[in-house]
Subunit: 453 residues, 2 copies
Amino acid sequence: MSKSGGKEAIIVGAGLVGSLWAVFLARRGYSVKVFERRSDMREAGYRGGKSINLAMSERGWKAVEKAGIREKIEKVAIAMPGRMMHGVDSSLTFQPYGKEHEAIYSVSRGGLNLELIDIADQFPNIEFLFDQQCLNVDLDNPVISFENTRTGEVKEYEAPLIFAADGAYSAVRYSLQKTDRFDYRQFYLEHGYKELSIPPTEDGKHRIDPSALHIWPRGNFMLIALPNADGSFTCTLFLPFEGPVSYEKLKTDAEILGFFKEYFPDTLPLIPELLTDFKQNPTSSLVTVNCSPWQWQGRILLLGDAAHAIVPFYGQGMNAGFEDCTILDDLIDEMGENWQAIIPEFARRREKDGNAIAELALRNFIEMRDLVGDPKFLVRKKIAADLHERHPKEFLPVYSMVSFSNTPYHVALREDDSQNALFEKILNLPNIEMEWDGPAVESVFKNWLENKG
Amino acid sequence: MSKSGGKEAIIVGAGLVGSLWAVFLARRGYSVKVFERRSDMREAGYRGGKSINLAMSERGWKAVEKAGIREKIEKVAIAMPGRMMHGVDSSLTFQPYGKEHEAIYSVSRGGLNLELIDIADQFPNIEFLFDQQCLNVDLDNPVISFENTRTGEVKEYEAPLIFAADGAYSAVRYSLQKTDRFDYRQFYLEHGYKELSIPPTEDGKHRIDPSALHIWPRGNFMLIALPNADGSFTCTLFLPFEGPVSYEKLKTDAEILGFFKEYFPDTLPLIPELLTDFKQNPTSSLVTVNCSPWQWQGRILLLGDAAHAIVPFYGQGMNAGFEDCTILDDLIDEMGENWQAIIPEFARRREKDGNAIAELALRNFIEMRDLVGDPKFLVRKKIAADLHERHPKEFLPVYSMVSFSNTPYHVALREDDSQNALFEKILNLPNIEMEWDGPAVESVFKNWLENKG
């Protein structure tokens, strides 16, 4: 038996969730090997050009706090208390995300990942192995094999405890997929995303208001921009791959410039390298992954995107993965280090939350890209804020429940269904644009509340 | 260039669809290699114990007719013009599937597969290679590699044209699954199935009426039996894996016998080897697979279960796979042998039908197992037959559309939605049990018809 007293674990993937979970395990005295397919980004540099900036919210903060590293992360995060919507006429509309002092926080994926690896690497009982491609998991033995992509060497590791945080295209999950009665779904949006950059001004300032998530909603497509600490913004264009207005229609410089001039005219002076960015950065696809069960015989557990890859439109991908760590760590507190019991229990409790946030993220894409187009939507937002003001305990907007609370995602999804039914009634009231805070709304609300049970 | 003039194709899988499609291609002068993972069943014998009997209907017949082999298949098929429902009290109720002379046909999967391989093997330009496990498809080259499971030898084959008919767990599809923007879903029912056998009488006769598909519907589970040409019946028990009444509760002889005595008392004298069958035959799971696109660059095409594995409750699994062959062959007639155009066009036209029959098959499970329990359902059947009688052109029951016509499945699914809406209205009419052929029904029907457009 090793000096760790048999407390050993393998983590596949040194991304955000893998690195954070290594810290949780190390703090409990586990000897942890973290295998990562890519090269050490501390040497190789983080490959940008296809990462969406992250929006850290309550669930993410709770996890890094429990891991004891909140302060280090806070240093690189920028508060975004609301969204700033840009009209085609360059008009600006600011909408707060929640109440005063509530905000989501922009962090760069690469910067945060580097920080987490640095923090984890300070633990003597965490070992990172880079350039290690997972080839296969022999589920019965259990043995996991990796190929060193630099040397071609293939090595097998005995692995009584495997945490697979190897992302949306998880190799461990592909092994599980072929077991009997494993439910699995991957599906893609018709939209792809492309990263563009708004650089800082010459004196290192942000060119647009850094205390907001900027959105240029255009119906079936949109552009967003999140601030970085160095004064730049990372922009992401979400656009269909094919169709009348789509990437396939934007091949020449004239087509690209024409598109931005028509739909995002106020961004032209902000993105000086637009053509270079557009042509050099890849167009990446957007996948949602659901699967069940997340675990195998109490010995292998999928975490983060490997278990529940979602589209980025609720800003919850990382937050959901970090919450996996919190909940799993809570279960150790609750049940002791009995993994044979903890792992199935985690899967049992958590899978419905993974499915729920996947659905909420898809719904929020519609919300984000159609925001300005639909005046009814703005009325709804206004009524929702008013209802919350007047009935703070009885009515919490779902966005707040997801972003500013730790309410399980499946409860938030149920609430979203329920509030959608409520607003269908409210928005059908006669003259609702004028009577949005009138007695008819209050009456429908009271009735909804009574029947909610 | 080979003597076939470059007309070469690889088929993965010598099951029902792979063998039939080989015949279609051979008749058009293609040189075809068919690779099969299993041993040659003509030598090894067909491994029974986990196959559901097949119900051949119009789409299947059309395909074998077009392939020129209808007569050979007809010899082994037994007509089932309706279903015979067995109550717990051993009562019998017969329900015709369609009009007079309409029937579905029981065929044994093994027998039919043997027959198809025999027919295909008579073509000099079809070569079968058995014990060949597909390891990988190198999509870019294109090269497909197989391991000979007897010798361990791995061999690569150049393959400009690959038809993957390798079933629900298609190896070719696993290769496609990792390509960008490939949508994929596999999900399992909570029910498993187990094969049991009713042997012939001593003088080789059927012990129960062979001109029916027998069903013992019991709410959340059911038993079915289909006749074989040798006087036996193949029975299949569909039961949840876990739960209050489930396989996990049937471990001892007493538990198994007690279960049959309680729910299927009339089968006890019919299944003499019940305990042996039950304990020796495996409990198999029931998967549904949807994916898109079914093809890769006009060079690789998924067919049959590899593209659209469905649950067996509509008796359409084989029929759908055979219809794939018909439609693909029709496209050759229509477009010439331009595979680069045919293959994407086939996928474009056919995928929605694959999704539709998957959904219809899931819906029919509810219908089959709940049949007797719900008196409203029998009223609905009576009204549907009556409406069809009085309005043969305007109203065709969906079961008939699926089983006795070649209407695309996606049209049948749309019709099912539409008829479900119609019957929700009809069954809510006051006193409908008595007034099932009254003027109120006719009025609701006329209104439905007008709004159908």
